[in-house]
């Protein structure tokens, strides 16, 4: 049981924090890119979607180069703040937020684009500032689409494997999430444990997908 719950708890923790980060950044960017065209918008859009198509190993390698102990940012994090992200669950959070960001962003942008611009304009004519328009008009009208994207991002963060393994390693109890525990159990020929872990992660993911499907359906 212990072998099941420790990775499950860690997975939920990592996925939760990663989803929060991805949601904050993804919703803001989705709103910004949905507002009006600007030069280079499609380039920004492509960059944000990149984690969805790049191999996880490539993302892992980018992150190592960036936040590794001798990395571009990592060396300063280490020198100035004594922060080391490699081999920590916080490192796993960063890897998971990068891969799940496109799902929030895409969902949020589509949802904002579907909102009729006249509502926002009406609010503006009534004297609302941009922040108020966003918080009280655009966001509530787009919330279902955003929520569905966030749910998908959570499921994706839960299943993250490749970049996480490269960044956070495979440390039982510290960074060994469910997907990595499955990998290790199979590598060790421990099929029974692999089966249990697989069942757990499948059930949780089905739950998340059903919930996000309901959110999207209720909209129409």
């Amino acid at each position: 049981m212990h072998a099941l719950f420790v990775p499950l708890w860690l997975t939920l923790k990592v996925a939760l924090f990663a989803t929060l980060i991805a949601a904050a950044i993804g919703i803001a960017l989705g709103w910004w890119l949905a507002r009006r065209p600007f030069p280079g918008r499609s380039v920004v859009d492509s960059l944000l979607m990149l984690p969805m198509v790049l191999p996880p190993t490539v993302i892992g390698y980018y992150l190592i180069v960036l936040i590794g102990r001798n990395g571009i940012l990592g060396q300063y994090l280490d020198r100035w703040f004594g922060i080391n992200l490699i081999f920590t669950w916080q490192g796993a959070v960063i890897a998971a937020s990068v891969v799940s960001l496109p799902l929030v962003y895409k969902g949020a942008r589509a949802a904002f684009e579907e909102v009729d611009g006249r509502f926002a304009n009406a609010a503006r004519t009534l004297g609302a500032g941009e922040l108020e328009v966003f918080l009280r008009v655009s966001l509530p009208l787009a919330i279902r689409g955003i929520a569905a994207g966030v749910m998908l991002a959570f499921a994706r963060a839960m299943g993250e494997f490749g970049a996480t393994l490269m960044i956070a390693g495979n440390l039982p109890g510290k960074t060994q999430t469910l997907s990595i525990a499955v990998y290790e159990a199979v590598q060790a020929g421990n099929d029974r444990q692999a089966l249990w872990l697989t069942l757990v992660i499948s059930l949780v993911c089905i739950g998340v997908l059903v919930a996000s499907g309901r959110l999207l359906q209720a909209r129409h």
């Binding site: 190592i64 440390l171 290790e184 590598q187 020929g189």
Partner: protein, 253 residues
């Protein structure tokens, strides 16, 4: 309609090509311990030259995962592990042809640090120093270097003080990579691995192991290329084969 016959002849040619390739070239699949990567790649080339028509495909990983793959029915012909224990497990599961099993190389466990590191531990006990926050070795359950390490650590009475500092790698080569990149403060690898990254890592200690680091090789029982598998094993043990292994730092078993 005129396209059809052409398509058919193209298909025929393709079938012939694929079929003849499958029939004539004898391909041997060798699953070998990660530490053998460079030495076996060189040995494989030499073997292909010495025996025209033979092709060797290598599958390198830690010995544990290789065994799990063979157990799950991977079409492997030859298995070379970095310890006796993994091969014993293969033998007790009747996966290898017992008569073909033989030791062909030996290695040494060493402690390495990043080349830029100023630390120079004089004995294993020095690893308890707070400056060694992260120490890497292979996952003991599946990676032989991890088992050799834990034996030595256990014997030195350091199991408890070092418990929270381990960073486990998927194979000895990942441990080497962690040290070379400076992500860990020290790591346990084989001497032959350290020799591959002489610019980025430095050997600081040679660790006497309780179980000697010897490499057994054997033909897989279900191999359809038993004869060629036997030839490859014989080549690895022959004078030219041993010369290649020694060039990469391995010693005789």
């Amino acid at each position: 309609m005129t396209i059809f016959p052409r398509l058919r002849s193209a298909a025929l040619v393709a079938t012939l090509l694929l079929g003849s390739a499958a029939c004539s070239a004898q391909e041997l699949i060798v699953s070998a311990a990660a530490s053998l990567t460079n030495a076996f790649q060189a040995a494989g080339k030499a073997f292909e030259q010495a025996r025209p028509g033979a092709k060797v495909a290598f599958n390198f990983a830690a010995s544990g995962p290789l065994l799990a793959q063979i157990q799950q029915g991977a079409p492997v012909d030859v298995f070379a592990s970095a310890d006796q224990e993994t091969m014993n497990r293969a033998a007790s599961a009747n996966l290898i042809a017992p008569a073909t099993r033989v030791d062909f190389a030996a290695n040494t466990l060493v402690l390495i640090v990043p080349a830029a590191s100023t630390q120079a531990p004089k004995q294993l006990g020095d690893l308890t120093n707070p400056s060694f926050q992260r120490i890497s070795t292979g996952t003991p359950a599946t990676v032989p270097v991890g088992r050799y390490t834990m034996e030595a650590i256990d014997k030195a009475g350091l199991t408890a003080p070092l418990q929270s500092r381990w960073i486990y790698g998927e194979s000895v080569r990942q441990v080497l990579n962690y040290v070379a990149r400076g992500e860990v403060d020290a790591g346990f690898v084989y001497r032959t691995d350290a020799l591959i990254e002489p610019e980025k890592t430095r050997i600081v200690l040679t660790i006497p192991t309780i179980t000697s680091v010897t490499y057994p090789i054997a033909q897989i029982a279900s191999s359809k290329n038993a004869a060629l598998a036997g030839e490859f094993i014989a080549f690895v043990r022959s004078a030219p084969g041993q010369e290649i292994l020694q060039r990469y730092g391995f010693s005789k078993p």
